[in-house]
Symmetry: C2
Subunit: 345 residues, 2 copies
């Protein structure tokens, strides 16, 4: 019964096509590959039959026979974040045409969840894996090393990379924004970010803030941490309250992301705090909301999609090299970031 239904599709196999075309299964297989040696006439005849009868090759069997899964695993802290979604899109753009399927995992900013996902995804024998960030559990590092596939860490510049890297220095970005605020005359600069170190990129930005404040000889650092990542817009607003209570003299706030910066901005409007006259606000990530809100948010722009695209290109060339037995030496691509001056500073 169930068999019969599936029979239509399930029974269709290369062998059947081969019989219809009067060739061997192998020839059908060759007809479906672009680079195989087969006469144009035979290929045309087979492809015609294939399309007319609606045969779809079984990718599972192909993977199994060729020992190539056609998968690339990618882990992001959150899919519900336009920056990472852009990176995923960049990867898809490059992997799709190459016939590679992206296996996505959402770590929810948790290293242990990352470890679980790595172990689960490795069962699928991906041909490469793209990670976000440079911090992983020891078990995860071990599994990855043992997997023997190209690895790309993104969005960060790890001290001890596992393999390839496509990222930028979040620490430098944080410092750069402090310098920008300083240039614009701000002297009492605060920082709002997450309460944990789970978002390592956020922690790096905070470290950059602290370094710059020290370097510039500003009297003290004013840091309000709030909530687990991802830090929400609303939490930005709540953090502003704490910030103003503790350091009423603060005249500029650097936020871990545009989302929290937006929350701060809206809370300022509710309280009648003049932005940027009384308080300057800076974000990170150049989210759409930062370009559109009023006043427009000064922020740091990164080419998120470019990170994904570059990561994918590295994976593709590593896989290409692997065909001829080579192993590409680890490569680190440093992506630029840019302070985007708008209206909140």
């Amino acid at each position: 019964m169930k068999r019969a239904e599936e029979g239509q599709a399930g029974a269709l196999t290369m062998q059947k096509i081969a019989e219809l075309a009067g060739v061997s299964a192998m020839t059908v297989s060759r007809a479906l590959k672009s680079d195989a040696s087969i006469s144009p006439e035979t290929r045309a005849r087979i492809l015609d039959i294939v399309s007319r009868i609606g045969y779809v090759p079984d990718a599972t069997a192909r993977m199994f026979a060729s020992r190539r899964s056609g998968f690339v695993a990618a882990l992001v802290p959150s899919l519900n974040n336009s920056n990472f979604a852009d990176t995923v899109r960049g990867m898809e753009e490059a992997f799709g045409p190459a016939g590679l399927q992206l296996l996505l995992g959402d770590t929810e900013y948790s290293l242990s969840r990352e470890e679980d996902l790595i172990s689960a995804l490795l069962q699928r024998r991906p041909e490469a894996i793209v990670l976000t960030g440079g911090v992983h559990t020891p078990a995860a590092r071990q599994m990855l090393a043992k997997a023997g596939i190209p690895i790309v860490e993104t969005w960060d510049l790890p001290k001890a990379p596992l393999d390839h890297v496509v990222g930028f220095s979040n620490e430098a970005a944080g410092a750069a924004m402090v310098h920008y605020l300083y240039e614009r005359g701000r002297r009492n600069i605060g920082f709002i970010g997450g309460a944990t170190n789970l978002d390592t990129r956020g922690s790096e930005r905070r470290a950059g803030y602290a370094r710059a404040v020290r370097e510039l000889g500003l009297s003290r650092s004013r840091v309000v941490t709030f909530g687990k990542p991802p830090v929400t817009m609303s939490q930005g607003g709540e953090a502003l309250d704490l910030m103003l209570k503790q350091w009423p003299e603060v005249d500029a706030i650097l936020c871990v992301s545009d989302l929290s910066a937006f929350g701060v901005l809206m809370e300022c409007q509710r309280r009648g705090v003049a932005v940027p006259q009384r308080l300057a606000i800076a974000g990170f990530g150049d989210f759409e909301v930062a370009r559109c809100c009023h006043p427009r948010l000064t922020t740091i722009a990164v080419d998120c999609q470019g990170i994904g695209r570059r990561a994918a290109e590295i994976v593709l060339s590593a896989l290409e090299a692997k065909k001829s037995g080579e192993v590409l030496p680890p490569e680190t691509v440093v992506m630029p970031f840019e302070v985007v001056a708008r209206e909140t500073v």
Copy 2:
């Protein structure tokens, strides 16, 4: 060389484990399944060896041998949209524990891209497929019917469902918001949405708007369409300009999503248009930005994550039924939506 590296992991097979444990490969297989008939001692001994030596079963081979892929395909119009990202998260929460891996595809609001993705994903022999919306190309419908797997269409209530449905009436939602605006005394209500019919949910909402305007006997409908989906925040602002030029008397605007509504709101602030006194604004989707902006956006809330979770539950029960040869009758789950009154109306 390359072989040698992979040798560590690649050479490990059930046969090896079986030899080490002094049993047959079949017994190792049983030890790794939870419901197989095997003695507790044997299982414990095998599992001990497995974990000590770090053997990871090859999911590809398992898929192939058991004719079960462990995949569920899911197509969304855009990953970079918090509503759909939430739906994906809802699915992941339900599929993960069930050992199913989500294969995600991003249709970019294009039916032909959806068709391509369906054809590509079907090669992976997913056990079920979750789609967004109820409109698909004829070729796509045919492929899906032929695949003989459970299908769930989400985020809409298709007239002719392919199989199961978890959605709500976008048309009714659009109409409901018009009625709400009417109750609040607005009589000159406009609509801002995308210029194409690619976003079928958006088109439905517009249809609901048009119907409600007619029903309420409002003099005319005022529709500004702008850009391809996804309609951005900035496009909302630009559309406001067109709206005010064409119909200066408009006193309320219903937007296809919170993102465009937010763009409208910000543009109002730049122009000094008082919201809601002079102009009421309503959005759709209850995005975080709607909850956090100032003034807070009146919108329509849907349980996006719940849609994903319910869709996954239906898939799981359909797969469960399939084991015993049954085919579940098509089920339609209507999710509620709710007008969330805030400060822009």
